[in-house]
Every structure is written in C-alpha cells, then in structure tokens.
Symmetry: D2
Subunit: 349 residues, 4 copies
C-alpha cells in the first residue's frame, strides 16, 4: 500500500537525495516538501537531476500537513526535535536525519551539541542502522538515522567488537570524505578554488560523530569502546572511505575474519565484503558505491604488528543518510528493506 | 515477455554499462557475455559496481551461442560486421554499437575507417538515434547505434536544421568529453598524472564522427550540412558537453526556438530542454545527466552577431552508447522506450 | 635599482598572485598591500603558500601611501579609476588590473560596464599585452592590463588577423576556464559540490571581454573584427584553453602559419608555439603553463572545410593577470621583461 | 663555482623534476641526462613544461660520462647500486634517489626488496633527510635520498620521538598520496577512468617505506619504534598528506609541542609549522606546498584520549624526491641548502 510521506527541510542535499529515492520508490508518494528559504520554488530548480521527474514545490513550514504516513526530518540538530514531538502524537512513522535522537544520553548530547530540547523522547528512538537494529527499527515509531561518518565507522567495527577480536582501546578511524557531506551551505572553505584538490583534516579530534560511534560499539560488547575519529575532506563530492586501525586482541586469521563478517552481516543485503584478488578493486573504494545504498567492507591483517586495517566505503548521501533513511522506512513499513533501493552503482564513474 | 540477450565484446566500458542496464531491465535476461581476454573471469571483477548483482562470467567467442532474441555487439569497428552477418540469418535483433553500420556510404566508411567487410549489409541498418528514426527502429532487425559525440551534436542541431533556422555552413561543434569515452584501453595519454586536469584537443579537425553527423543532418534537410567537430578531453570521467555555434539563417526569437525544439522532441521522453532562470543550472551540464539516458539541450541567442549557441549534455556511456542501445532494443522489441531506463541522475555528484 | 611598489586591493586572487611574484622579484620591494576587509591580517593567512616569505599585513586604504615607484590596482571595475586619477599626479607607474582603462571608447565601456568615472584618462592608458604594445608600454605611465580571457583570445588571433589569413567575421572563441578566474568571492555557483566536475557555459554570448578582444584585433587590421566568445567553467582551478575557430581567407599552408606566428612573436619570450609530433603534448594545454607567464599557442588546419582551429593556453592568474602585470612593470621600469618571471611550470601537475 | 652534473634514468617523473630544478639552479650545469627508452629524444617532449628551457636530449647509458662533479641516480632499486659503485671511484658526489642505499641492514633490504648487489657500500651512505643528518650529508660522498612517504612520516615524528613525548608502539601513519608517486609507468590501475576520484588503500600493511621509517626513528631514540604505514592513493597528482596517530607518553601541552618542534627544526628552513587560527589553512595541506621543497607540519592534541594527531604535507616529487636531492646536493657542495630551491607555492592551485 502506497505510503504518503513528507520531507521537512527538503532543500538541502540530504533532502534532495531523499526526494530522489522517494520519487522512484514503488510504495511512496511524496505529498509535501518544506523549505522556508525556497518556499514556492520547484524542487528541480535546486536538484537539476529531477527535471522531468517532479513538479513539486517547496512549501513553507507553516503550511505543514500532519496527515502523512511517514515524515522525514532533515533540519539541523536542535531544530528537528520539536517536529518529532509534534508528529509523535499523530502516529506517523518518524525518520529523523538530524543528530537529535541518536544519543541515548542527554549529557552526551549536551557535551557534543547543546542542551536537548526534548530529552524525554530520547528513549523512544531507535538508532537507525538496520544492520545493528533491524528488529527494533521494524517496531519503532521514531528512528534516528545514523551520521554518515558514524555509519562508515560502526559497520566495519561491529563484527570485530562483537567477536572480541580487537582491543577496545586505541581504535583509530581515519576517514576521507567528500564535500557534499558539508551540506548545501557554503563559505570560503567550500569555495571551489580553495576546496578543490584539498586534503583537509578539519577536525582531527573530538568530532561529534565520535559520540554515536562509541555509544553503539560499547552497546554491542557491554564495555566502553574508545575510537579516535579523524576525518579529512578530500577531492570528492560524494563518498566516504574510512580506514580503521585496530590492535588485534589475539591471534586471528583471515578465516576467522571472514566468519565474523559473514555471520554478522548475514541477512544484510546492503553490506558487501570486498577482499579480492586478481582485480584492481581488491579493497572497498567509494567510487563503486556512489549513488547506491551499499556499504563495502574489507580488511587486511598486519600479523607482524598484531594489527588489523579495515576499510569501509559508502556514499555519504545514500547509505550515510537518505538511502539509509529509506531502508529504515521500508522496515518500519513492513516492506522488504531493499524496496526501491536495489540498484548498482556506475563504472567507471 | 523476457528477452534473452547476449553481449559480444562485453569487457569494455560500453559492454559493462550495457550489462548494468540489462541486469536491471525487467524484460531482459542476459544469457551470455563474451570476451577473449577475460574469458573465465567474473564480470564483477572488472565492474566493481556489479558485485552482488551477477555471477556471470565472460565466455570466449568460440562458445558464442546463436540462440538469443537480441544481441549487442561492442567490438571495435571492422570486427563487428562479421558478427552482424552471422546473426542476420538467425532473425535475432541486432544492436551494433560499433561504427560499422552507421554510415550509408561505403565510400565514406572507407574514408574514415577502412574498406568495409560487408558493404551489402549497409542498407539494412537503421541509424540508432530514436529521436530521429523511432519508427524505422521499431521495424529494424539491425540498428547501428550512434557515436557518443555524434549523438551530442546531432540532437541539438536537428530541430534547427529541419526548420531552416541556421546556415548549413560554418557550423562548429566544440565538444568537451570525459575520459571514459576513450574506452578501457590505456596508454600514456590516459595515465592519470598526464590526463588529470588536462584540456586536450586531441583531434581538432577531421574526427570520424563528423561523417555520421553530416550524414544525418543532411538527410533531415536534403541538402549538404557541414559541421566542424573539435572534441576536447577534459577533467571528467563520464559526460559530454557539446557547444554548437551556428549562424542564424534569419531573424529568430526564443519563441521560435522553443517551438522548434518542443515540436521536434514531442514524444521523446529522454530529451529535456534546459533554458532556465533563477537557478544555477540555466543551461545543460553533464553532471545532472551522468548515469542517465537523458540528453539535455539548451541555447542562447546572440542577436548582435546573428548567431546561436546551442549546448547539449549527455552521459557518453548511457545516451552516448549503452543506454541508447537499450532504448533502441526497447523499440525493436515492442516495449515502451523508457522501460528499464527511466531514472534520474544524482545531485550533487 | 629596486622599485618600491604597492598593491591596492591585494586580498583577492589577483592581488595574492601579484604579491607572490613581487616578493620573489629581484628589483621590487613591496611597501604596502591594502584591503579593507582584511586590514590588520597577515597576507600569509589568506595565501598559505606565502607562509615564511612575508610578514606583510593588509592595511586599510585610508593609510594608503602615495610614495611609491609603482602601484598595482586590483580593485573591481569602476573603483579602480579614482586610484588611477590620484596616482597620475605623483608620477608613479600605474598598472591597473581592473577593466577600467582597457577600452578606448567610453561608449563601449558604458555598454559593457557602467558610465566611466574618469573618461578623460582613457587616452592615457596603454592596453597591457606586451606582445602587441611593447614599445608603448615602455613609455606609458598607465597600463591597463588585459583581461584573462581576452589575452587568451587576442594572442592566437593577432598574427592571423595581421597577415590577412582569416575572415574577420564569424570568428568563434570557445574558452575553457578554471574556477580561480571568478575570484575569491563565493556563492552557490562556486560551492564545491556544485562546481566540481562542472562544464558550465555561464555566459554563452555577450561576455564583457568581447569588447577588448574586438578593439585590439580591429586596431591591428584597421577594420572591424567580430568575435563570438563563449567561456565555459570546467574542472580546473587555474588555466584557460581557448579554442578559436575561424574561416581561412584563402589557401594557407602550415608553412605560412609557422611564418606568421614566428614573425609576429619574434622577441616575445613568453609565447611558445606548440605544434608538435611524437609527443603527448602536440597542442597547447593549460597544465604545463600553470604557475608560469607563458602563452602556448598551436593550431590545426582543416583544409577540407577551409577552416583553422587555433588553441592557446595560459594561466589566468599569471599571463592572464598578475604575471602579465609584472611583465608590463618590467617594461615600464626599463628592466628585461623576463626579470623575476622566467620559470618553467611543473610536470606532471 | 658551477657544478657539472648528470642525471641517470632521467625520463621518469623524478628525473624530470630534478632536471627542472637543476636547469634553474644558479650553480648547476646539467651535462647529461640518460634514458634507454627515450635515447635521442629531447627532454621537453616528455616534460612539456621545459619547452624553451632546454634542448637537452636523453643519451643512452652506454655513452655515460664519468666526468661530472655530481651524479643523480633515478633508476629503479637494485639497478642503482652498480652506478653507485662505478662513481664511488671517481670522487663525484653521488645522490641516489632509489631505495638501494637507504637501509643500513642488508637483511632488511633483502626482506623488503631483494638481495643487495653491493652490500659493502651500505655503510658509506648517509640517509638523505637534511633535517636529520645535515652535518653527515655535508661530508658524504654518497647520499641515499629518502622515500617520499618516509620523508612525510619521519619529519613529523622525529621531534616527538626524540623528546620522548609519545609511545613508541602503536604509531599509525595514514597517508594520502597523489598519482605521480607511482611514476611514469602506466597500467590499468593508473588509467584515468579507474584512478580518477579513487581512494585506494593499495598496500594497507607492510609497505616498503616502513623499513626506513623505523630505522630512522629508532636511531633517534636508540630503541625500536614501530610504525604501521597505510598509504591511500587519492585524487591528486602531486602531494602527500600523512596523518600520524600516536599515543602520548604522558601529559603534554601545546607549549611542550611547540618547543619540541621549534627546537628540532631550528635551522631547517624547509620545515614550516602550521597550527594556525583565524584562517582556512589551520593545519598542513598539500596544495600550498605543491611545487615547493617545504614540509609543513602541524598537530592536534586529543587530551581526552591521551593521543596526538600530527599532519605533514609535502610535494612527493620535490621534498619527497627531486627537491630534497637538490637540497642534499647543496649541502654536499658547500652551498646554502636553499640555493635554487627557495620559492613559494601557488595559491589557489
């Protein structure tokens, strides 16, 4: 049965990406997209790819309709929570793409973001990575979609943490990320001559996504997991490659690792294990996942140093936000999680 | 009814792109993909985007099966013709992506390519741009898919030529093209440090696609049309922007042009007219069509100089080859031409 | 003898580039750089390349000193003219990099820009392309540096026009240009996710530089020359490739062209003729001239169509502005025009 | 006094870069450049940037002259050693850019490369990073230039190791590197459509440069230092950003770090400390050092995790090979180490 959905804060890159997938989804009908700044403008003016696919215009939020089966919230953190509160009472499924309900602890939220406007709702939310919380998502009214960097770091680590294969301290996630992750807002740092070809470690320590990464990994093992996250903006519009460096807990073979990864991701169609031979693409890379909801994961052991290097590649706007949101929506709606999302990337791209 | 198809010469970029679309097409079943060099290898090893979508392996051509509903031929010019001859007798639909059957005249073929191995078949072929030859394609057994540059130059010019709006002499097509158009073969000219960031006018005059461009445009008006084609390899993997410069035949307004373009492309879902205001994307650009079968076309008049500048953007591997081939296949098979091809691009990309 | 110079409006890309060359110049001493917006800031904060080379800070223009041997003006058009007027009375050499004094006709200036604030000074200015006006520049107090696109179009055409080799009508200049040409100011059009990989014909007809191109070429032959200029922003930070398409006036051979070009540019060390064989770099390309003051020029005849395609490559910030300004300064100061400018580019880059 | 120098194996990117700097050096005269494959060709055919700067042609090595003041060897590892042996007897200064004499231990050389052809010469070589071995280089006949990745990892770590500020275990160097580091040889992995936009962890563990990194850092402290090196090819032609992750040995402040770095690099003009505020370029990035011999170094403490993240940026072809070779040559020749090397990069680039 077709679901009526709306997107709040739809004029950004996340909203545009969601809109694309929603328009092509066989069981979704987009009834409303909101934007204050672009109210009255056609969506295809901001999203030239959608020319010919929709005549939808942005509406101001004061005209927001409550009558939807599901709502996607793409506004900045702290501004999403009031919408969540509003829709909780309508029974609509709520997929919040902001950071507002990702953290279980209001103290941690306060440390990384701000005082939480509706802390009483924190316990209602399920963290939106289906590969970790599939069953809870199916039954949730409110899903807090994971951050893009967080998704790219949690997925490759989860099987290792769960199986006790690595030391829980001293994990380093060195991420390479495209410019679209910064959103549609611009300043001198995103000015093409300054940003093009750059390799910019804009937040070497203390990045906000650390909080959700540590929360989720700690929950898996029931013990504190410490991850140092260092993202770098590199020459790329879409895509993340996270290189995760960890100390092995003991002796581990590739067979152990294949088992751990295969078992953890059994039933997870959007995770592909990439550890190959006789091909140029031996490990995950962002290019083959751009425009898709896949998370490609691969690794290399360094037995001499007792370490492992795990790589994961996602499209920050798909598996890192809009696509994962649809995947959650599918689960919440009783659909196959692949519905409307099952398409390969392009090669070469 | 699902059609059984095969792809000959499937290990190149055109073959890989075709395979992607064919695998996702609701009415196609790929029974065979051939490659001498990669015989026995899984297709996803060359096409990392297809990991998880197919286990198909390349077979050597000596194991080629004749039992297919349609065959796509992606081998180099001169080597495609023998396959065409072979399959003509089986009744299979033949979509040839090489240059072998694009030209009506064996003399012109000889001038630009080589002595034609099977000139007697030239008259059987229909030139594969549906926007020009939709009805003939529906009834053809053999379609010769247009070249990528040719597609990007013919489409924006056809309505102008047909309506007598421009001088037939002194047309200049200055094209900007991505590196994937050169194919999967590599040499020093495609070596990343040499090619990256380059703006290379590798063939300023006398490019082979000139022949098909002039053939098709001349056929529209029944008079010789002369086009100077100057392609430039620029920093881009996929995509073509062709900027066509022409002298106006007389006084012409934007309204005349809108009429000419709208009327010519009525019923052509894959052509979008892009001449916009109040948006960043006022004219066609390659990025919004990458990964799609669209040809975006726009123009600007220069009344002071009595000239028009027309821009067209396509993805060289989709509307410029693999996608257009599927579009022809759809027509030849009695399907809606959009079947399996109707998807928007990504933004930002 | 070392010259004391200042740069007005030094916080943009042109100012930064000028500063770089001036700091390394053996006979220049930079006494002042002005900027309202960045007053008090160190220049190396905006120009990370200059860290360790200068402690100069921007000063507000109200502290502008008149006591200099030469002044470079890098403010926007219309705002440069008052500074020119001010310095004319001091005897200082004035190199204006704005458009204010490029056009001889105040009517043309008004058509393309605005009402000229000091039209009486127009006749004092020499157009700043040394390859055309070397002797006048040597004796000028005021030089109006050529626009970057204009430089890239005038240089390849001048020898053809002078020798009557091409038709003066129907010349098309199709230019490809890097993002730095738009300056340090940013908006959505320069936002990396929107600009990266783009091929954007932002001004297909009526570009302002047309005025100076036609003025200079017409002056060479004493007859009106018409040039249609269509620039495209492409994926590149620095560099211009202009592809100039023209109709031959009569039968012309490569030998004629070599003679015309060699003779025109005899004594012009910064023009290199690039028409080569047995190398990847057969025609001009931007990459080998990035960071240099060279203009590389090459061509290809199309005898069948009676046309010529000429390509020219420059670095828009060097030969297209800051470097050419220094070249003019050298001539005005009695120095060798190569002084402080004679360095090769980098390969690969 | 001008030194006569030759470059053996000059047709690669390292040789081309060396040639560029040597041609512009006030005290060098290049007497010979050798290449088997390109013997007889002009150097500017391979290096389009050098057009107009030299008419030198490659000579075959059988015509190699022994009569030089200094020789630069740019041939692959194992093939450099015989030349070194040959020139040791002539008294010429030898700067070897291969890996042949970087390691003190023939066993380590055998482990990472091959059986050493001339192990008796290993003790004669000085490791060619002036910031570590300035005095020894001044007196050396043979200098083994450091690897590019090694340079980018050793420099930021040396002051930390020397001052006991970090744990000597568990150091991770996650490097991002441009395509020119792979040299002028091409294959499918460097084919533009496959390499462009890629983020490829081609050797996650066990990279050869690990050997020289650990050798040099261990020598500083007299204890084994363990470094896990994971390089990633990213979209960039020139440049390396190495992000080094280490555990702090104890409580350390930014002041301690400033002191350690300032003191270690006192008298080292090519190291710039970049840890800035109020600017876009707060940490090192490759772009501002491209085309220069600088190593920019910066850091960020993560007190919560007891860690430090150090970033270093170099141009792999300059400070990472050709430039550092000239810097060594200067020292060996009694010149100021900045001679002919002191120039800023370009911004924006």
């Amino acid at each position: 049965m077709v679901k009526k959905v709306s997107i709040i804060g739809a004029s950004g890159y996340t909203g545009g990406e969601l809109l694309r997938w929603a328009l092509m989804h066989p069981e979704m009908q987009v009834s409303q997209i909101t934007s204050e700044r672009f109210a009255g403008q056609a969506a295809y003016k901001l999203n030239p790819n959608l020319r010919g696919f929709t005549q939808l215009q942005f509406t101001p939020v004061k005209q927001l309709s409550m009558d939807v089966d599901a709502v996607f919230i793409c506004t900045p953190h702290k501004t999403a929570a009031p919408y969540v509160k509003q829709f909780m009472g309508t029974g609509a499924k709520i997929i919040d793409l902001s950071a507002d309900f990702r953290l279980r602890s209001k103290e941690t939220y306060a440390k990384y973001y701000a005082v939480h406007p509706h802390p009483e709702l924190l316990e209602k939310a399920v963290y939106g990575i289906p590969e970790l919380h599939r069953e809870e998502i199916k039954n949730a009214q409110l899903v807090a979609c994971a951050g893009c960097l967080a998704t790219s770091v949690i997925l490759p680590l989860a099987p290792l943490v769960k199986n006790g294969l690595i030391s829980l301290e001293s994990i380093i996630a060195d991420s390479k990320i495209g410019s679209s992750a910064g959103g549609a807002g611009f300043d001198i740092s995103t000015h093409h001559p300054e940003r093009q070809g750059g390799v910019r470690s804009y937040k070497p320590s203390g990045h906000r996504h650390t909080a959700e990464i540590e929360q989720e990994l700690s929950a898996i093992i029931g013990a504190p997991v410490s991850v140092g996250l260092t993202p770098h903006g590199i020459e790329m519009v879409r895509g993340i490659l996270s290189t995760v460096h960890a100390r092995l807990a003991g002796k581990t073979s590739d067979i152990d690792l294949w088992k751990a990864y295969r078992s953890f991701f059994a039933g997870s169609p959007f995770v592909r294990l990439v550890k190959d031979q006789n091909t140029l693409y031996r490990y995950p890379e962002p290019k083959p996942v751009v425009g898709t909801n896949f998370a490609d994961i691969g690794w290399e052991l360094d037995p001499e140093k007792g370490r492992i290097i795990v790589m994961s590649a996602i499209d920050n706007l798909v598996k890192g936000s809009g696509g994962q949101a649809i995947q959650c929506f599918n689960l919440m709606s009783g659909f196959d999680e692949k519905l409307g999302l099952w398409s390969p990337g392009f090669h070469p791209l």
